[in-house]
């Protein structure tokens, strides 16, 4: 078994799998059960200022979308930060940390946007012995209406200012949690770095309406006939989250800034992908909320096996794919593949044919006996047939060697060349 011990900005945990700040981490009972199940760390559900706790709705808080067999693909919520008294949380955090010294325990914080509020909360959490703080600049609903959460995270100047206060009034490692509800995620990450953040974590949830009740004509979850946008998470958001992680990892301004990856991580493979794109560890919520804490055991065994197979250490994985994330303009336009259908694996459903014939390049032939074959002279290698085929690896993209004559373009496969030098690119200056 590969060693999964993780050291993220000096915070040690037996594995890189943390539970994200959310309902699974809102009290001692849950957190201890999570640790027992094997989670390496938790980010305690966001604490607010002292005083009367926030109030949640007493109707449904979650909405969802499902795939086949009602498999949950996306979840949205309108829950706020912790609704338990601050003192109760602080007492429990202290008890848990003392009992579970080898596990990471981070406290998520969200208080009003003034220095005294931050100074006060940092002072209050000081003797919990927690390993660090995560600044919740991401929550997109409810708290944002009160000038907190994503209302801060959408203004880079505020992020920088608050991060500076936190570093000024605390010696704890500081992670800034970013909202995806923004045009260019590099800007808030740069601001966090300027403010002195030790790391960023992303993504928080995405503004969303998951469904509309077609009898009551209200968004769901529906509270007394009305709904509000919630925060979207789960497997459906993973591609969005991974792009944002990669953008920060490869941005010259933020390169090297540690990232805690969040967004739809459900299996060891998801975690490995985030880490390959540059995340130093990962945080999970929806998978645990869907299947329970036990899912971490598959993540641990899967990642260990993968690292053993590759002969890699955990740290070797972090950022291993980052150099290969590039701009479209640098993609090799002389790289040619063609779809190939394995007749042995084909079950003759014809979905590749329907997809290609109706919506792509009319590059698949169908015979009277339902044999499906690729027409190389039409195939642009778009990959749609691969993606709609219900049998894994039945259709594959075969790379063509240099010198192979592509019957579609009537040109031979050549050396690497990209758009920046392509004759059709109007920006290319002809050599004088």
């Amino acid at each position: 078994m590969a060693n999964l011990t993780s050291n993220f900005i000096g915070i040690k945990s037996p594995n890189p799998f943390w539970l994200a700040s959310a309902p699974p981490t809102d009290k001692k009972y849950n957190v201890e059960r999570a640790y027992e199940a094997g989670w390496g760390g938790v980010v305690w559900k966001t604490l607010g200022s002292e005083g009367p706790p926030v109030v949640n709705v007493s109707g449904p808080r979650y909405g969802a979308i499902w795939g086949a067999d009602r498999r949950l693909l996306g979840l949205n919520n309108i829950e706020l930060i912790t609704d338990r008294p601050l003192e109760v949380n602080l007492t429990e955090i202290k008890e848990v940390k003392r009992k579970w010294r080898d596990r990471a325990l981070i406290i998520s914080l969200m208080v009003p946007c003034d220095e005294d509020s931050w100074k006060d909360i940092l002072h209050r959490i000081e003797d919990t012995e927690a390993d660090g703080v995560e600044l919740n600049f991401g929550c997109p609903h409810g708290m944002a209406e009160r000038g907190m959460g994503s209302a801060v995270g959408q203004v880079p100047e505020y992020i920088e200012m608050v991060t500076r206060w936190v570093k000024k009034h605390s010696r704890m490692p500081c992670i800034v949690k970013l909202t995806p509800n923004i045009t260019d995620v590099r800007k808030p990450a740069e601001a966090a770095k300027r403010g002195g953040a030790d790391a960023v974590s992303l993504i928080n949830t995405i503004n969303s309406i998951t469904s509309v009740n077609l009898d009551a004509f209200s968004p769901e979850p529906m509270i007394d006939g009305k709904g509000t946008h919630g925060g979207y998470c789960g497997p459906a958001v993973k591609p969005i989250a991974m792009n944002m992680v990669a953008e920060i990892a490869r941005n010259p301004e933020t390169r090297g800034l540690p990232i805690s990856g969040i967004g739809g991580i459900t299996t060891w493979r998801d975690a490995a992908e985030f880490m390959a794109l540059g995340a130093g560890n990962v945080q999970v919520c929806t998978a645990a909320m869907t299947y329970g804490f036990k899912v971490v055991q598959e993540m641990i065994s899967g990642l260990s096996e993968y690292l053993d197979d590759k002969g890699m250490a955990l740290d070797d994985l972090v950022g291993k794919a980052t150099p290969n994330v590039t701009d479209w303009q640098f993609l090799n336009l002389n790289y040619v593949t063609k779809a190939q259908i394995s007749q042995d694996d084909c079950i003759k459903c014809g979905r590749c044919y329907a997809a290609c014939e109706d919506t792509s390049h009319q590059a698949i032939a169908m015979s009277a006996d339902r044999t499906f074959t690729v027409k190389d002279e039409e195939c642009v290698a778009c990959n749609l047939c691969v993606n709609v085929c219900p049998v894994e690896n039945c259709i594959t993209m075969v790379e063509k060697p240099k010198g192979w004559l592509d019957p579609r373009t009537d040109r031979k496969v050549g050396d690497y060349a990209n758009w920046t030098t392509h004759p059709n690119n109007p920006s290319v200056q002809a050599a004088e």
């Binding site: 086949a68 067999d69 003759k348 459903c349 014809g350």
Partner: protein
Amino acid sequence: MTNSPLTPGVVAGRLSPQAIAANFHDHEPPLDRHEAHVAADRCYFCHDAPCMTACPTSIDIPLFIRQIATGTPEAAAKTIFSQNILGGMCARVCPTETLCEEACVRETAEGKPVEIGRLQRFATDTLMAKGVHPFSRAKATGKKVAVVGAGPAGLSAAHRLAMKGHDVVVFDARPKAGGLNEFGLAAYKTTNGFAQKEVDWLLKIGGIRIEPGKALGRDLSLADLQKQYDAVFLSIGLAGVNALRAPGEDKANVRPAVDFISELRQSGNLSSLPVGRDVVVIGGGMTAVDAAVQSKLLGAENVTIVYRRGQEKMAASGYEQEHATSAGVKIVTNAAPVAVHGNGAVQEIEFAYTEDTPQGLKQTGETFRLRADTVLKAIGQTLTGAPEGLAVEGGKIKVDATGRTSLAGVWAGGDCATGGEDLTVTAVAEGRDAAEDIHASLMA
């Protein structure tokens, strides 16, 4: 209880009424809403779907399954009924394992097809339970069509003709409509009087009058019908039964399997229905299986299906054969009846072993006897009572692809006509297509 499976002879009440009721319960219970959604999720929505091609009525299966998956089973039912108005019965009795489900790509992929038949039943039951009829009649055409035979082909033709605005009279020799849906088929496939409920529901279209107890050749003549109606559709089925052609066939308790099944289907009290202790069924098709399994379910001790050719030649599907053997029926193949023994009533039946040779089926010379107090013949039905003047081919009324017979103005379909297998679903397709052709020719 005085009788048991071991009571000698042909007697009623071999099992308790509770046991019989349990035995004749719906043998494949309907899917509930959740089960239907899980099953529907498995459909790949294939292009030019093989299941649809395999269906004799060409139901748009991927579409109706998608309609179930999206929470609109009533729309799914309409998709089914627009091609097959007896989609409810076909969902119960179709040998899906040799039709749509055999062609399902998930049969290829995993050996587990999408449960098309059960999904069809879910959709059709949902709509029919609402008591609504999803079709309405076109403007009256003033044309009258006679349909002879109220089985699946006749009912299908009548419905389509009524829908097109024609007035239809359906004659049937039996006391009620339904044909083999009502008088044939195993009871556990169509429980709770479904066949009659389906007829009643079908008739809600309007414009169809059923005339029971009227047989062609006895109460009606084709010539009269041709005079009185603008078109005639014959769906008279196969009323005759093939003979064993073995000495002793005339002994008591040697009878057609279809008569036994019909008696069972019409019995209001299965505990009063006599059944033998040692039942031998001769034949290899669905009728043989239906007769054998139901004999067993009534409490017969030993039930044996004997088929003269090899197992692979049996018309009953592998699924049906397995259903029979799991019910406790023994299947003997490559054995042909050569003599029925007994003093008045059958006591034993003697078989000769056979082998398939390039020159045909040959008896090996070795024989054996089975104890039998009942012999049910299920070796095929024959056309009887076909009107004079109609061309007949291979024992069936000769028709073209649209059901036209050799006489102008007379169409035929279902088991009595050439083309297709003798299945409910095939009969429905033939009735529907003939109706379309009748309509086209009446309106031309």
